[in-house]
Symmetry: C2
Subunit: 211 residues, 2 copies
């Protein structure tokens, strides 16, 4: 089983490191970080680069596709090299997945039309334009398409998908091994839980990023 | 404020990407990934490399130190270049922190003697030999020393520390931006919650890794 994790300039690291940490522990899985070209790919903060060990063209038929989100996504919404690859990989994939605004790239590639999907709460509204039923859920399974909400939700997506791939017992063992027993020190991780002034602050800021 | 994230061969990615995703969003913070030498550093799975943008010697006095855990930790317990650097950086740091078995490196450097600290649940027992009071808590603050339990606990540590550094309101905004509202699909993330046969399985496997 080959898992292709797709990154690009200005992706968000946790979007894909969450699923990687879960899915790469499936028995017999080979995980490969891919980008348009091989080499270091830097996150939106500029502080972290991960290595794309393979170019997209070198990984034509992965079993599992994981597409990152991040501020760099908006520059790729009609970028043929990526969207063509997504369509090609999806043609033979067992699972096609995304985290955060990565679902907008799947949608732009036409892969989510008529399906239910999720995205970062600030990006959800953009799914409708692609014929996608946007849900506010944290993880959405619709057939072989699995989408996760913002950034950290990729951990939940990865663990849920690991359960489908390798069985509940294996997934529980990985949860135990990664000590995934979250205890956030605050309870502001969703717009309906956070103080309204913070929701407004992020919405205002996102107008410059997302539109 | 400079945040140094310490990685090494066979580190665990989520250990440090969790804290990075939280702490790098502190106002005015510069985050730098460091290793003994500059260049790509690969995780224990072999599937992911992150770039160390600086060598340890180039980052002599960070304000915040974050030490990764991972299977590679056990080879470094008397590795002078790393332990000497930890002692030097700690001499002027505001916060000295670790995730997972990274606390064993802080302990080996002599930095946790007489203090309370945590680690991956499978590594906790090793802290006692260094005069450290091991707790099973997920995040432990003791003075300027902050230690987190296994792998994913670095997210909670990073968010809690961000609150101390940048204030609760800022930390809540980052929690909202990263949509950190965890909903694990299983409840097996700690040894007292997981099925006993999985706890035993991981303990048995760890004898070969940790001793």
């Amino acid at each position: 089983m080959q898992i292709a994790v797709v990154v690009y300039d200005r992706f968000t690291a946790l979007d894909v490191v969450g699923p990687y940490e879960m899915l790469s522990r499936a028995p017999g899985a080979e995980t490969v970080f891919v980008a348009e070209e091989r080499g270091p790919v830097r996150t939106e903060t500029g502080f972290l680069a991960v290595t794309a060990d393979r170019a997209l063209a070198e990984v034509p038929a992965p079993d599992v596709v994981v597409v990152s989100g991040g501020p760099g996504q908006s520059a790729l919404m009609d970028h043929a090299p990526l969207l063509d690859w997504l369509r090609q990989a999806d043609a033979t994939s067992t699972w096609t997945t995304s985290v955060c605004s990565g679902s907008l790239l799947l949608a732009a590639a036409g892969l989510l039309e008529g399906r239910r999907a999720t995205s970062h709460w600030l990006a959800l509204w953009q799914l409708g334009a692609f014929g996608v039923e946007a849900t506010g859920e944290r993880v959405v399974f619709d057939g072989k398409y699995v989408t996760a909400a913002g950034v950290s939700s990729g951990i939940d997506m990865g663990l849920a998908l690991l359960g489908r791939i390798a069985g509940d017992d294996h997934a529980r063992a990985v949860q135990l091994g990664t000590e995934y027993d979250p205890q956030p020190p605050y309870d502001a991780g969703a717009p309906h839980k956070a103080p309204p002034h913070l929701v407004e602050k992020l919405r205002a800021r996102s107008r410059f990023i997302l539109t």
